[in-house]
Amino acid sequence: MPRSAGTLIVLLAIIGLWQGLHLLVGASSLASPVQTVSKLASLLATGEFWLNISETMRAFVAAFAISLFGGIALGIVLGVRKLAGNVAEPILTTLYSIPKVVLYPLVLLCFGLGISAKIAFGVMHGLIPITLFSMNAIRQMKPVYRRTSQVMRLTPSQNAFTVIMPAILPEIISCVRLGFSLTLLGVLIGEMFASQRGLGFLLTSAINIGQIDTIMAIALLLTVFAVTCNILMMRFDRRLTHR
């Protein structure tokens, strides 16, 4: 496996760079890799840290579930109905490209300070790309599928579950990947700006009291979590497309 050996060398080089930077700027501005890992281990041993993790995960799982089901359902409707899709697509791409952070105060005013605001903000990040992806997947589906379902006079729900969903499954997995990372980002930004619990809240409160090792331990945990989930989904994706 020379390929993964190269990746390993690059990863080691990044860790080396991190250590070098730590020696350069001092322990008060940048914790070393060893310090970060040991801090993470000691944090993971406390019950309070797990409370924050579970708070973030609850918001994330709820937001991800809503984005996924809502996005795919909306995408199927807009993909099957050509006119609605053509009208909605530019509106959705514009909404997708605006920095959604500026709308966060609006979300806070609507939902109050709590888990529902975080969920709503995560959904705002995840819903639109999933809708756009699944809509485009349906549009690029082979026309013979659509015609066959017409010939067999399938009802719209039969059409959705037995024809469209299996046909666009590989694309759905890629939009699950995209939606996953964007929803996670949305939930974390929400927590960093205003909340009382969660990993994002721990990050901002650690800045205020200057605990660099806590900040880096949380950043490391989230990076490892996100990258691991992404790699697993990519594996799954590859297996599906090679079927």
Binding site: G6, I9, V87, I98, P99, L185, F193, N230
Partner: protein, 248 residues
């Protein structure tokens, strides 16, 4: 044409609905002010110049991080392209890069550079640069082989080949990277200002939110939405021209 008309009708109807709900009082003034009031407020703050320093800082930072990420991303892309073994090693990392919620690194930059433009630009570049690297790799990969062969037949020098053949052939793909870099720089700068900073539009919105100054807050939000939509529309027009040129 009728689709365009329908789209305008849908957008206008949505805005009118919000306007109506605000005027009737279904949406309380504490939550959201009517869209027409937002426009009036925006006119007021632009005329009074109250936020012009914040606006200037934000757009300067966005411009700096866009330029930096395009330049750094392009150079890094060319270097990675010319070293295939490095590319094999780095590509799995690039594929997972955007899965990482980049903003969790913002506190680290704050402890390194302090609160201010430097850490904001750093996070925006971190967010934007990889899309430019990927676009550069993609563009260089897709240069048709016949073009490079033509260059060899004409015995062009390496620099001439790069400037006259490779760069123009890769431009449509590079522009996709430019477009993404602009979008990510906007998100990176405004979101970091929003989370923690002392100046800028994002900071001004967060400050107005804390003081319940809904007029200022919604006016600034509207400003951001308008600027982003205009910039995106312009970039999309250029993009469409470039894509058309490629198909010919």
């Amino acid at each position: 044409m009728s689709e365009k008309l329908l789209r305008v009708i849908v957008v206008v109807a949505m805005i009118l609905l919000v306007e109506l709900l605000c005027r009737v009082g279904v949406i309380p003034r504490m939550v959201m002010i009517a869209p027409s009031d937002m426009v009036v407020e925006l006119g007021k703050i632009l005329a009074s110049g109250q936020f012009s320093a914040d606006i200037r800082i934000t757009f300067t930072n966005i411009a700096i991080s866009t330029v930096l990420s395009i330049l750094v991303g392009f150079v890094a892309g060319v270097i990675i392209y010319s070293l295939p073994s490095l590319r094999d090693a780095i590509e799995p990392l690039l594929a997972s890069y955007y899965a990482v919620p980049t903003f969790v690194f913002y506190p680290i930059f704050i402890t390194l550079f302090g609160v201010g433009s430097a850490s904001i630009i750093a996070i925006a570049v971190l967010l934007a640069v990889v899309s430019m690297v990927t676009a550069t790799l993609n563009g260089l990969d897709r240069i048709p082989r016949v073009l490079r062969k033509t260059g060899q037949i004409y015995r062009m020098s390496r620099i001439k080949t790069a400037l006259l053949i490779e760069l123009p052939a890769a431009t449509p793909y590079l522009f996709t990277g430019v477009k993404l870099s602009v979008a990510y720089s906007f998100i990176g700068v405004i979101a970091s200002e929003f989370i923690l900073s002392g100046a800028g539009i994002g900071y001004a919105i967060a400050y107005a939110y804390n003081l319940f100054e809904n007029g200022h807050m919604y006016a600034l939000m509207l400003l951001v939405l308008i600027v982003v939509t205009v910039v995106n529309t312009l970039l999309n027009i250029v993009d469409r021209r470039l894509q058309m040129r490629r198909q010919r």
